[in-house]
């Protein structure tokens, strides 16, 4: 839940990134620690570009990014140490087993070997991958790959987890498992930022929701606050979201 006195997990100020046209345009965004934040927006709104800049996968043109007070542009290693990234197309090593993959990730983040093995076993068990712990990843389905990527993001116990469309292609069972794991992490004090096109997931899971369009944050708050802003009464998040985007387009 949002707490005005809590430190910010993520603070973005004046972030700009242009390719052939502006993808992110003077974006300001704050996510308090311990919050589940969902970032929504139509295709091309700049969500993924924003998150890729936060994780260091893209260099911003200008602006500042701070992760738990660490300036991600000046001290990228320090910022990376406390966050994790899960993309919508998880890339794994086909020739490694899940245990080896998690061990490798732990090696990159400098997690103690014994602790890493313990966490890896727990994560694989909790994500339903334990029976496949010693099979190589090459044969895994999309859902299994997605869950293993999530396990990789959690094995070093980050303070901020950033997920890009984590539920795309997951079956109902896998989706439930991933949701449970994320909720449990937030309860334990972790912050989560997630983009998704599945608005029901955002509606049920997020403490706060941000809506991006044209590279800017056009609305931000709890669902009720968004409804108020959109003037959509008791409408669903889907209706509210569509209204907000339509209003923005009309204003532009």
């Amino acid at each position: 839940m949002q707490n005005s006195s809590s430190p910010l997990a993520l603070e973005i100020r004046g972030l700009v990134k242009s390719f052939e046209r502006p993808a992110v345009d003077r974006l300001d965004l704050s996510v308090p620690a311990g919050e589940f934040y969902s970032l929504l927006g139509p295709n091309g709104a700049g969500k993924t570009t924003t998150l890729r800049m936060v994780t260091g996968l893209l260099a911003p043109d200008s602006g500042s990014i701070s992760v738990f007070g660490v300036d991600a542009r000046r001290d990228p290693i320090g910022a990376k140490r406390i966050m994790a990234w899960v993309s919508d197309e998880p890339m794994l090593y086909d020739q490694l087993t899940p245990m080896e993959y998690l061990d490798f990730v732990a090696g990159l983040w400098g997690v103690d070997a014994r602790l890493a093995a313990e966490r890896a076993r727990e994560l694989l068990c909790c994500l339903g991958l334990a029976p496949f712990a010693d099979e190589r990843c090459g044969t895994f389905s999309k859902g299994m790959r997605q869950k293993l990527a999530l396990a990789g993001a959690l094995v070093h116990e980050p303070r901020l987890i950033i997920l890009d469309e984590p539920f795309t292609g997951l079956d109902a069972g896998s989706s439930r498992i991933v949701k449970d794991v994320l909720r449990e992490r937030v309860r334990a004090g972790c912050s989560v930022i997630m983009t998704t096109h599945i608005l029901e997931v955002a509606e049920r899971m997020a403490d706060r929701i941000g809506v991006m369009a044209g590279g800017r944050l056009i609305a931000d708050g709890k669902l009720d606050e968004l409804r108020l802003r959109a003037g959509s009464g008791d409408a669903s998040l889907e209706d509210t979201f569509l209204t907000l985007v339509a209003q923005e387009r009309a204003a532009a």
């Binding site: 990376k80 020739q95 490694l96 080896e100 090696g107 400098g110």
Partner: protein
């Protein structure tokens, strides 16, 4: 307009696809490059013809009636060409079995699939023919220009050999399917294809070493040891090249008939083989070796271990990477034969080792740098980019060292100075190839290893020039001449030029 599902309809479909693929390869999908691509094609064609003219006008004029020496040389050229064609045909046939692109669509449609497969087999033969002509046609044309139109019948010979190669390839791959099953055939077939491609050239060198004690003899001299009679059937294909009607007709009939039989027998079965291939999982099976450990090491060590674990666990990649080392076998054999004896062997070995090290280094560097399957994981890890690059470079150089240091060590017993030169050459050649891969790195799947050359032609040429240049410098350095500096400076100039146009420089300047 031909009826849908007919041979002509499938042929026109395949032709359209082939033309668009070729056009895309030339222009990278940008229509504005079409003019430049066409100009490049014309320049290349003229250059090859000029090269062929220079080469042929300086060689001995062929006699009207071939003597045994000429026939042997021609036979050698043809066997060399056929082994390359067979290798390429096996690659193409294997790919046709395993590619899933449009095969699911074809096999689930009511169209008669055997017709498509018949067309595809013929298309493979046409492709092999065209590829052979890319290098061979200028020589055939110039030979005809200089010595008479009868040499144009070489086109028929190339076509016959292409058809024969495809027929043999289909039989071999089909037999592998029957014996090994779908799971193993892909890997084994690709390895067999590569070995066949290299076998004849390597075999000739082995024969030369056994017969003459050195590799430095005219390429086909070893064949003359067979003491063939002029009337030997083994020389008929060469006689056909000289324009003798009976051998020519026989060769063309043999090629066409073998391809027709292969199509008749295998086209109806192709669908079944494709389905067998498609229902096989090529992914790794359950772990059968000890688990690799990463977290008990530093991030750099974890990266190095990861590179080696991935390479050692992928037999296809391993075979592709090490295939170029096949060409080292004659050199190693020569070294073994001359162990503890004072010979000029070092003059040969140092440049061969250097060239092979450059090629292996380039391949390994591509895998480590561009063929990173989880680039975002590495990029978001709390490890400095410089540290990642250093760890990957160390993994590459360690691999090159593991292969070449034992050979250099053996050479040191025979010729210490040459070994020192080889050691330096191996290091700079591998280092240069690795640097080029860094400068031109482009993210790709490891499985695209065979197609890595297409990502940057500049990098490909630079890598080849660098390896060859360092090998040349090594060859001269072994003889103790300061002229060795000339190719060395040439390579450094190339590296500087390549760096100046590389994406890495643009990125650092930006």
């Amino acid at each position: 307009m031909s009826a849908s599902g007919s041979f002509q309809w499938f042929a026109s479909h395949e032709t359209r696809l082939a033309w668009r693929d070729w056009r895309w390869l030339m222009t990278r999908g940008r229509s504005e490059r079409a003019g430049a691509a066409a100009l490049g094609f014309v320049v290349f064609t003229l250059f090859m013809h000029a090269l062929a003219y220079v080469a042929l006008s300086r060689s001995l004029r062929p006699t009207e009636t071939a003597d045994v020496h000429e026939l042997v040389v021609l036979t050698g050229v043809m066997v060399l060409g056929f082994s390359a064609m067979l290798s390429q045909a096996m690659e193409s046939v294997t790919r046709a079995f395993y590619a899933r692109g449009d095969l699911e669509l074809i096999l689930t449609s009511p169209a008669p699939a055997p017709r498509l497969f018949a067309v595809r087999i013929a298309a493979i033969a046409a492709t092999i023919f065209s590829m052979s002509l890319a290098l061979g046609a200028p020589f055939i044309n110039m030979q005809a220009l200089l010595y008479g139109a009868r040499w144009l019948c070489a086109y028929l010979i190339v076509a016959s050999l292409a058809m024969l190669a495809v027929a043999v390839a289909i039989v071999i791959v089909g037999a592998l399917f029957g014996v090994l099953g779908a799971r193993r055939t892909r890997l084994i077939s690709q390895i067999v294809a590569a070995v066949i491609g290299a076998a004849f050239a390597i075999g000739l060198q082995f024969a030369a070493i056994l017969s003459f004690g050195t590799m430095a003899v005219p390429r086909f001299a070893a064949l003359e040891q067979l003491a063939l009679e002029p009337t030997s059937p083994l020389l008929w294909p060469a006689r056909a090249a000289f324009g003798e009607p009976a051998p020519l007709v026989l060769l063309v009939c043999l090629g066409a008939a073998s391809l027709a039989v292969a199509i008749g027998v295998f086209a109806p079965r192709f669908g079944g083989l494709v389905l067998a291939a498609a229902s096989t999982s090529y992914g790794p099976r359950k772990r059968s070796r000890p688990r690799a450990h990463f977290s008990d090491a530093s991030p750099a060590q974890a990266l190095r271990r990861k590179e080696w674990s991935l390479l050692l666990r992928d037999p296809w990649l391993m075979s592709q990477t090490l295939m170029q080392l096949l060409y080292l076998l004659p050199a190693a054999f020569l070294l073994w034969r001359n162990f503890f004896s004072e010979t000029g062997v070092a003059t040969f070995l140092a440049p061969i080792l250097i060239m092979a090290a450059g090629q292996l280094g380039g391949g390994l560097a591509w895998l480590a740098v561009s063929g990173e399957d989880a680039p975002e994981l590495i990029a978001t890890a709390p490890v400095a980019a410089a540290k990642v690059l250093r760890a990957k470079t160390e993994a590459v150089l360690f691999g090159v060292g593991a292969v070449f240091l034992p050979l250099v060590g053996m050479l040191a017993f025979v010729a210490p100075f040459a070994a020192l030169v080889a050691l330096g050459g191996v290091t700079v050649a591998a280092g240069s190839a690795t640097a080029i891969q860094y400068w031109f790195r482009a993210q790709a799947k490891r499985s695209h290893f065979r197609r890595r050359q297409t990502s940057s032609r500049i990098a490909t040429f630079a890598e080849a020039l660098s390896s060859n240049g360092w090998a040349g410098a090594g060859a001269l350095a072994v003889t103790g001449t300061w002229f060795a500096l000339v190719p060395g400076v040439f390579v450094i100039a190339i590296l500087a030029g390549v760096w100046s146009v590389s994406p890495a420089r643009s990125a650092s300047a930006g």
